[in-house]
Amino acid sequence: MDILNNLFVSLYVWVADLLHGLLGGLGLAKDAEAALVSAIMVLLVITVILLWMVLMVLILIWLERKNAARLQDRVGPNRVGPWGLLQPVADTIKMFIKEDIVPANADKFVHTLAPMVAMMPAVLAFAVIPWGKGMQPVDINIGVLWIVAVASIGTIGVFIGGYGSNNKYSLLGGMRAVAQMVSYEIPQVLTMVPIVLMVGSMSLVKINEAQSGWFGLQWFIFAVPVGPIAFVVYYLSALAEVGRTPFDLPEGESEIVAGYMTEYSGMKWGLFYLAEYFNFFIVCTIAATLFLGGWNGPILPPYVWFILKVYGLILLGMWIRMTWPRFRVDQLMNLAWKVLVPIALVNIVLAGLGLPIFKTIGF
């Protein structure tokens, strides 16, 4: 069991040892060797993580389409590969070979930059997510804050995408998207505060450790009443933050064509599209880490538990998407500022009041 639990950690150590062995033959100084090995390992980890990300998202896209079809009484993709499993791959290839059109009056540099910026938060956030016990690419002691911070970079990508296309629908969509993302960032961050308060640290590893034991009863979603409230608020605002239906106003096709993506085609459009799914995936991983105990769980290896929880949350999101109509702009803003923010603030106060009480009764 232990071998299975530590599979990836052992793999990492083994590769590092192998590298040491290989480089040892070169006769470098100790310091230089250590530096080289750590640099190569960093690159390796980044590559693996990037590949892993792509795999995760391809599965996610397939799941979404299949699910949508099921809920709408259709069949969904079923031609490419078994059950249409290779459909996302085919789509990717199509995007790569499609013509890339840049509007004549666009700000070309900004237009090209935007999708790349939009991808950045996803890539940066993946670096700190604890996939399993000891399976965190970078362990920084402010993981929660890091994720919040890099998530805010995505806003810029969307914004300059809307501006750079030089199209009124793009611009409108971009402005809407930014307004929405900025508004929902606040309740999202505020719901993390009670968790940080309870753990006493912003490290994602510590947050995971705090939720271990008791067969799941230590998960923060069961820390009544603060936990469940925080979870619901977090999940709603996360859905809005990444612009999923019912909060997909920035690209509401019945109103503003495709929003900030209107003028994008080919791989640039593909990047935006991927970025959205990446972001969705990431908010689910964070929700799983903060509220559902991360990789904690009985019997199965930690990383399996983690993936299961994340996909559970993803399926929940898909269910919501398929069954709810889209919000209006004013309803959207009201929900953020007049409902979610106050609830989140009260929740923080509750956590602050409850914490000493729990501490004293020794929970």
Partner: protein
């Protein structure tokens, strides 16, 4: 985790270059959106320098507040006042030469101060987690400024809304 000195230098140089280049773009670009993008680049560079300085918390706050909030505000303001960008013939005003001279004079003075002074440098290793300490000090030693700044933010928010709302 101790990073080899070479890597520290590489990190420092890259980040310093990013910060300065971003700054130069920010003050020279005619297109305001690009100036704002240069500003963001500079913010990111400075955040990187904080990482090199082992001040992770400030680095992340820098990204969160400057990149995530202030630059968005700037971009919004540029968008909302967009009509005039077309008519803008030159980005610099008539006294840009004087400004350049002032900046250069000040720079040479600051250069003198930065390099000529015997700063009492101590080689200290940062031990342990500073963030709980930071939080604790904000609530004890720096309680007064902490409370004052929260009042300030409230007042600034109210005032900015009164002035900017439709």
């Amino acid at each position: 985790m101790s990073t080899p000195l070479v890597l520290t230098y590489v990190g420092f140089l890259i980040m310093a270059a990013v910060a300065i280049c971003g700054g130069l773009i920010a003050v020279s670009a005619r297109n305001l959106i690009r100036a704002a993008l240069g500003l963001i680049l500079s913010f990111v560079g400075v955040a990187g320098l904080y990482f090199v300085l082992e001040a992770e918390f400030i680095a992340v706050v820098q990204i969160l507040v400057y990149v995530g909030a202030i630059s968005i505000l700037v971009l919004f303001a540029v968008m909302l006042t967009r009509g005039l960008m077309r008519r803008d013939l030159s980005a610099q005003n008539s006294q840009w030469i004087a400004a350049l001279v002032v900046a250069l004079v000040l720079f040479s003075a600051l250069l003198l101060v930065a390099t000529g002074t015997n700063w009492k440098v101590a080689e200290t290793k940062i031990a342990g987690d500073l963030i709980p300490k930071l939080g604790e000090q904000l609530m004890t030693t720096y309680l007064l400024p902490f409370e004052a700044v929260s009042l300030l933010l409230l007042a600034a928010l109210v005032g900015a809304i009164v002035i900017a709302r439709e």
